[in-house]
Amino acid sequence: MPSTIFIVDDSATTQMSMEAILRKAGFMVAKAASGEEAVTKLQGGLKPNMIITDIHMPGMNGIELIRKVRAMAGFQFTPILVVTTESQQAKRDEARAAKATGWLVKPVQPDDLLKVAKQILPNG
């Protein structure tokens, strides 16, 4: 059974891009366009093996989403990768404090995304 990666990003092109890259590498993909939608899907029973989230989203931002997810039962140890244009160290520290697993700066090269995904989910 391939691992499921949950992409949370308000950009349709980034969603599409990462989905295609991950699917081609054999992963299953679920998507949400906002933090709120992501929380709803997770509360609705979605159990991804990894979450990839943007930081800058309307409404609930990525950092808030990470905090919310970490507070939910069953998601304390789910890897959460931040993928964002944000590059300031202060924000990285904020993500780390919220218990994110890693940080990638957009635009993400396909090889980099797959390398990290396979590092976190070695069994695919």
Partner: protein, 226 residues
């Protein structure tokens, strides 16, 4: 000029006359001359007021407005730099996508030619060419993220233009009401606040350059695992 000379002469003459009359004991003459002196002084004061180009408070305001306007090039420089970044990133993405499509098209042509020329082709013979057809897809998909990045850069430009709007409104108010000077937010403060919106390394570099700072902030690696 002539009026000024005449006024000064009149003032000196009447003052001197008043002193002379006073010294000689002529009270009425001294009073008359003193009155003339006062009239000359009043004319001089009125001329002086008329001759001043503008009151000091207005001059101060105009200098402040001019100072603020002089900072606009830093702002427009940032706008231009962002525009250049957008052009560069879209150009790079378009080039990669166009090159990928061209290569795919060329490989499809080769594949078609192989199929047309050979009656019996083994799957293994076709596989390398089929793989070559699909090879550019991943890179092209990765480049699609340019839309996300440029969208944020353009949103930043829109926020910058709102700062300019607000500042122009403030300047107009300042020119229309001298008491507004104390209330007006300094343009530099507004411009510095725009730095908070600069989330990308490139944006922060452009902002620092625009304000004349040779500052390069450490931005950390593109990939970081905690």
């Amino acid at each position: 000029m002539l009026i000024r000379i005449v006024t000064v002469a009149l003032l000196l003459a009447t003052t001197s006359a008043a002193a002379t009359f006073a010294a000689s004991g002529s009270a009425s003459g001294a009073a008359l001359a003193a009155t003339g002196s006062l009239v000359a002084a009043a004319i001089g004061y009125a001329l002086g007021r008329k001759d001043r180009s503008m009151p000091a408070a207005i001059r101060t305001q105009m200098i402040k407005v001019a100072d603020d306007l002089a900072q606009y090039p830093a702002f427009t420089r940032l706008l231009r730099a962002q525009g250049t970044r957008i052009t560069e990133s879209t150009c790079e993405a378009a080039t990669v996508i166009a090159t990928g499509l061209r290569d795919m098209d060329a490989n499809v042509d080769r594949l078609r030619a192989m199929i047309d020329c050979s009656a019996h082709i083994e799957a293994d013979e076709l596989r390398p060419l089929v793989d070559a057809v699909g090879a550019p897809v991943i890179g092209m998909l990765g480049q699609l993220q340019f839309q996300d990045v440029t969208q944020q850069q353009i949103a930043f430009l829109a926020r910058l233009s709102l700062i300019v709007d607000q500042h122009m409104i403030n300047l107009a108010r300042q020119l229309g009401n001298r008491r507004s000077m104390d209330r007006m937010t300094n343009f530099k403060d507004m411009f510095d606040k725009a730095l908070d919106d600069c989330v990308m390394t490139s944006q922060r570099e452009d902002h620092h350059t625009a304000v004349g700072l040779d500052l390069h902030e450490p931005s950390g690696p593109k990939i970081e695992m905690y």
